[in-house]
């Protein structure tokens, strides 16, 4: 069973993600901001990270950079999930080392499809 770390400062978005992911057989870890996310990522073996960008304490792009600096997370898929799809932000995410981008509001089916692709055939 793969473990997915969701990082978002909105509890309802986290709940929604957890609901969708858990129902599809993923184990879900939740963090409310980048700092918590980083801590959880270091404490557990995470297979994929889903992170929002605009959060307190540490935003998504910074989290991505921080994760990529860890040996364990050089290749783990990190998907940014955000309402903002401005090219600048995408560029920043890409440069920080994110694997890809997903726009909110997300379609649960699309999310799962994206996860399947990103995690390879599990």
């Amino acid at each position: 069973m793969k473990t997915i770390l969701t990082v978002d400062d909105s509890p309802s978005i986290r709940q929604m993600l957890a609901y969708v992911l858990a129902n599809s057989g993923y184990r879900v870890l939740e963090a409310a901001d980048g700092e918590e996310g980083l801590a959880l990522a270091q404490a557990h073996a995470v297979d994929l990270v889903l992170t929002d960008h605009n959060m307190p304490k540490m935003d998504g792009v910074t989290l991505t950079k921080a994760l990529r600096a860890l040996p364990a997370y050089r290749k783990v898929p990190i998907m940014m999930l955000s309402t903002e799809s401005s090219p600048e932000l995408k560029q920043a995410g890409r440069e920080a080392g994110a694997t890809g981008w997903m726009v909110k509001p997300f379609d649960p089916d699309k999310l799962l499809e994206m996860l399947r692709k990103a995690l390879g055939s599990a």
Partner: protein, 735 residues
């Protein structure tokens, strides 16, 4: 698979309201002259969070609105837009509108879209016309993201803007311009000048969307059809770089992002991968992410990360508005259904009664067994008490829940009345029972409105009296001798004695000028008593102060007024901490057991004969240097004086009329004649009103250890009756 996500919609509404509440607090607290980054960031993020949720749950109008609102706040936090009082006022109104919109959505009513659209326009308008910091000298086109263009308010377009009528058509245009073609600001401004030849450019914006391209967006009001416009623009830029939409709502640019983005993403999917993923056999593809990542592992990136860490740590630890923080960072609390908590409290109450019954029975057992039993029972008693306290604590909430509405209300009201007021709130984390908070909220609000309306004078008048122009309104809460004390104090004009006496006489009350201040002030609690010259809609419809009195009294509390003409007024509310448990003293009168609240008992005494006197047919007793009126329950409740006090083993009962309990209600004292004092204990309060009806003189009932019911006496009522103030007068506020 069709998963039902609607259950999360409710959580979104709650969250959104919290964000809006935080937004309001932040807006009120922010210092316009020197706004700090953390506050501006927090303001931005509050709106951003609402947008995220709105988008996630498909509330399109709200999403569009918050997108616009957020962009403006983004500019403010990046210091590209100056925060003025007008902008803050507008933002506050915007947050009100959002709150209403959310409430409508939550209750599945149709939200007021016109209101939303109107506010959106107002926000955009103020943002575009507001002062901007001057542009940097020569923006290098390839690095600066934002281009400062000719302000709209240039002379050529001014005339057309003033008194502008709604144009024939309003079109939103976005143009992708190559930086190679438009190397600097001047070039783009020239382009805009050309465009102005086609019509009125109502708003515009220009940003670098990539290393090689600008995106110029503007709104054109012109009597021109879309394809005509396109033809004209094609002289200025390649056809496939021009996107034109006519707005479906009044807000420009909201339709645009989706138009642009749909064309922009390589595939039309909801997601994209920056680089090809590893294929399924696990082999590394030719162009792999690692080439990106190796770049990131250099030392200076590491220091950048550290800098970001530090910056964010500073942000996290910065003292942002406390209220906002409390409402947003609620990780250490959970929401509990109130009914569950009430049930818990009931159960604990029953447990306490059962324990009391056991104690009673234990009194009859023999010595040896008795010791063991006594030990077990004392354990039980301790555990029960701790459980009780813990459960009651669940219901306790900080009074900040009530205080929180005051800053905004004060600000708005002071503005409306053209008064300058500083609101001081102390003791916001003082905790009270939830139901107490709910009942005290409106009275407190009313007292504050009163102070603003009638208490504090206009700045000019204050100045004439040698006072500072800014009035001070102080609201404080603190624990005080087993209860809570809440004061509302203003340094205003104070209560007007003559007016009150006159009004009381008008209402038919026999009040004279001879009365002391502390007898005159409580008159304002009489129903129908408003001395306001004209009834403003703010307060003073005469239904305010007596409701305050009722609410406080129904909570088992008291209200006191102190006032000095010219100096100000202080209103003090005292409330019990919890409603369910009472420390009581059992007394016996005519064979019946009653309970007196321990908090209001000053002492008990057996007076010497020479201390008892009769003055004006009122019996009094001398205590130290004071004469206190004496009353008895026989007198109050019309009890038949039955036989002398019943025999009991450990009876200290003397002859009737010799034992007095001195009651004290905030300094006002009276003596109550009792037959015997039976003991002190904690008593579970049961409501008579809920089970029968309200009875004057009683504040509740309880079940004693022997299973019988005992009434809990209302000490304030007894003291009031005992005093020389006319009983009729006293009766009115009690309703």
């Amino acid at each position: 698979m069709a998963l039902d996500l609607s259950r999360f919609a409710k959580a979104f509404f709650e969250e959104a309201q919290e964000h809006l509440y935080a937004l309001e607090s932040l807006l009120i607290a922010v210092d316009i002259n020197a706004p700090d980054d953390e506050a501006l960031n927090a303001i931005f993020r509050a709106v951003h969070s609402v947008k995220g949720g709105a988008a996630a749950f498909g509330h399109t109008a709200l999403t569009a609105f918050t997108h616009e609102f957020e962009s403006i706040l983004d500019r403010v936090r990046k210091r590209k837009l100056v925060l003025t009082k007008r902008l803050v006022d507008l933002c506050l109104t915007a947050s009100d509108i959002m709150r209403r919109h959310l409430a409508a959505l939550e209750q599945e009513r149709a939200p007021d879209l016109a209101e939303l659209a109107g506010m959106q326009e107002a926000l955009i308008d103020i943002a575009d016309n507001a002062d901007r910091p001057i542009a940097h000298a020569t923006p290098a086109p390839t690095t600066s993201a934002h281009v400062t263009l000719t302000p709209i308010n240039s002379a050529s377009t001014d005339a057309s803007r003033t008194g502008a009528m709604s144009p024939a058509t309003s079109l939103q245009v976005a143009m992708r311009l190559m930086k190679t073609d438009y190397a600097d600001t001047a070039a783009i401004n020239n382009l805009l000048a050309d465009i102005r030849g086609l019509g009125e450019v109502a708003s515009h914006d220009c940003e670098a969307i990539s290393a090689t391209q600008w995106e110029l967006r503007f709104s054109l009001n012109a009597d021109i059809a879309e394809d005509e416009l396109r033809e004209s623009l094609e002289f200025l830029a390649p056809a496939d770089s021009i996107y034109i939409t006519s707005p479906s709502n009044a807000a420009p640019f909201t339709a645009l992002p989706s138009v642009i983005d749909a064309r922009d993403t390589e595939d039309e999917n909801a997601y994209e991968f920056f680089a090809p993923l590893e294929d399924e056999t696990g082999n590394e593809p030719d162009v792999d992410i690692n080439t990106f990542l190796h770049k990131d592992l250099s030392a200076d990136i590491a220091t950048n990360i550290e800098k970001d860490f530090i910056a964010y740590e500073a942000y996290a630890n910065a003292p942002v508005n406390d209220i906002a923080l409390a409402s947003l960072a609620d990780a250490s609390s959970i929401r509990v259904n109130v009914a569950k908590v009430d049930q818990l409290i009931n159960l604990v109450g029953e447990l306490v009664i059962a324990e009391a019954m056991l104690v009673q029975s234990a009194a009859d057992i023999n010595e040896a067994d008795k010791a063991r039993l006594a030990y077990g029972l004392s354990q039980l008693e301790r555990n029960t008490r701790e459980l009780q306290e813990a459960v009651l604590a669940i219901r306790m909430l900080p009074i900040s829940f009530v205080f929180s509405r005051l800053p905004r209300m004060t600000r708005d009201l002071a503005d409306r009345l053209s008064k300058e007021v500083e609101l001081e709130m102390v003791g916001e984390d003082t905790e009270l029972d939830k139901s107490v908070i709910e009942k005290i909220a409106d009275p407190l609000t009313h007292l504050v409105r009163n102070a603003l309306d009638h208490g504090i004078e206009t700045p000019d008048e204050r100045q004439r009296h040698g006072k500072p122009r800014v009035g001070l309104l102080s609201v404080r809460a603190a624990y005080h001798s087993g209860g809570i004390m809440i004061t509302v104090a203003d340094d205003g004009a104070g209560l007007n004695r003559e007016r009150i006496v006159r009004k009381a006489n008008e209402l038919g009350l026999a009040v004279t000028d001879q009365w002391r201040d502390d007898e005159i002030w409580p008159l304002i609690f009489t129903p129908g008593f408003s001395t306001a010259e004209s009834v403003s809609d703010i307060s003073g419809r005469g239904v305010g102060m007596d409701v305050v009195w009722q609410n406080v009294h129904s909570l088992g509390g008291t209200v006191d007024i102190a006032s000095n003409p010219g100096t100000g007024t202080t209103i003090t509310i005292r409330l019990p901490l919890t409603l369910a448990i009472l420390d009581g003293m059992s007394i016996s009168v005519c064979g019946e057991t009653y309970i007196l609240p321990l908090a209001h008992i000053a002492q008990s005494m057996q007076p010497e004969a020479h201390d008892l006197k009769t003055v004006n047919s009122q019996e009094v007793v001398k205590l130290r240097d004071e004469y206190l009126p004496i009353t008895s329950l026989q007198q109050l409740f019309n009890l038949s004086s039955v036989q002398p006090a019943m025999e009991s083993e450990n009876s200290e009962a003397k002859a009737i009329s010799d034992l007095l309990v001195i009651l004290d209600i905030d300094g006002k004292r009276a003596a109550l004649r009792v037959d015997a004092l039976l003991g002190q204990h904690q008593v579970v309060l049961k409501s008579i009103e809920a089970n029968y009806r309200r009875v004057k003189g009683l504040s509740g009932a309880t079940i004693m250890g022997d299973g019988r019911v005992a009434f809990i006496l209302d000490a304030a009522y007894i003291v009031g009756v005992a005093h020389t103030v006319d009983i009729e007068l006293n009766a009115k506020p009690y309703g």
